[in-house]
Amino acid sequence: MATIRILIVFAVLSGLVAYLVYLERKVLAFMQARLGPMRVGPWGLLQPIADGLKLLLKEDIVPSGADKALFLLAPVISVLAAFTVFAVIPYANNFLITDVNIGLLLILGISSLGIYGIILGGWSSNSHYPLLGALRSSAQLVSYEVAAGIALVGVLLISNSLSMVHIVERQQQTGLWNVFVQPVGFFVYLVAAVAETNRAPFDLPEAESELTAGFHTEYSGFRFALYFLAEYTNMVLVSCIAVTLFFGGWLRPFASVRWLDFLNYGPVAGLIGAGIFVLWLGWKARDTGERGFFKFLGVALIVLGVLVAYPPVLAAVQGIFWFTAKMLLFLYAFIWYRGTFPRYRYDQLMNVGWRWLIPLALANLIATALVLYFISPHAGLGSG
């Protein structure tokens, strides 16, 4: 049973990451008054497949003098660390791979292992630009891990448990998403997450216009694709964590408010809305081949929406729909930041991490602890 779920999660995740690249290009393009990929398939939908094929067919260059074993191993470490963590994230109350009672600790631990992939990649390239880029990148990641970790301890305190499922259930019980209880913690976590994934405005180590072109300079072909994959998977990962810990995971907005139960039809509305949007896109498409595809897709989505309205199906689909919707909003925010902000210089980046975020996170932690102590019965922490 668990094996099937693992396979499903792995397949869906791979597809999601591949199409996240496409989504990023499209969203970034629209923000920049242009169109993005349009030629490969209708509205460029086959672009990730074309890119993947291209990277697979490229020559695999291993620099001479490179430490061959480490060179081959480094991207694998990054990807493995990124993918493994998805085993402990609860996607819905009825769909999760496993619920470990130290889930949060496991997440922080395994995702930190991904940093080895970066260091080893830069080291084994036997070239000083990648090494400098790798050292900078790993220093940045380690600093922001600290900030993220401390921010998450605040959530830990109010939920009294490390298990991800338990944290979500706590939010359901109190009827309040953790973001309202821990706004500062959320903010610190959000900034740290953007820095963790090497995304703008903290993407100096991998910017093209800088001298050190990043740890993945010497990588080509599919190994480069693996690093890329690891970065986007990390993005999905931190979005999932943020959603689970701060935004109620699989809970619908106002989950405990009875009179807002019509929101349960969110999946239906979402699917039908997506179908109408696709039909509108098809109406604006250029040639009949594309138009046909969009009509088909739009109608299929609307039919799916109607089917989902059947109550048992609706109940089953609820959790995963809300989780996915919130996660997509986070991913959209990542892309939004990339399109808007300039880049921080490296020393300013470290400045922000050590002089602003960590003190803020510590202050948040102390404040949370004090508040909890004073509102609880004075025998120990944890309210009833």
Partner: protein
């Protein structure tokens, strides 16, 4: 105080975010998808050269005065002529080296009879260097590029 609040609540960053968000409407997209949508070219555009013919008689308007060749900074026009019986000049060959042309328009300005004209054609790519040297026939007919519609 107001400054401090602005800094805490990231007002400057949110302003930028609002702007880029507002650009996602379809009316803001500025892309012109070539080759499906071709750009509108101005009337005075200095594009591919053409040797004009008299529309009624079909004969060339060029009087082989060689002014265009003298005006060209790159000396890439070669005009060949011969004398007819009544001691007038008749154009025989006209060679224009498009690979060195910088489309400055001095030849077009120099021509007294508007025979040589830089048209609005901008699709003048060729597959070989020799193909860029146009003879009289190509100049009169114009380039025939393959039109892609997909």
């Amino acid at each position: 105080m107001k400054e401090l609040l602005r800094r805490i609540f990231l007002v400057d960053l949110i302003k930028g975010l609002k702007l880029t968000f507002s650009y996602q409407r379809p009316s803001a997209t500025y892309t012109e998808q070539y080759p499906l949508e071709r750009p509108p070219v101005a009337e005075r555009y200095r594009g591919a050269p053409r040797l004009n013919n008299n529309p009624e008689t079909g004969e060339t308007l060029c009087i082989a005065c060689n002014l265009c060749s003298l005006a060209c900074p790159e000396n890439l026009i070669v005009v060949g002529w011969e004398r007819t019986e009544d001691r007038r000049k008749k154009l025989t060959t006209f060679t224009y080296d498009l690979s060195r042309c910088m489309f400055c328009g001095l030849c077009e300005d120099a021509c007294p009879v508007d025979a040589l004209e830089l048209t609005q054609d901008f699709e003048i790519a060729e597959y070989s260097r020799e193909g860029m040297i146009w003879d009289r026939k190509t100049l009169e007919e114009g380039p025939e590029p393959s039109r892609y519609t997909r």
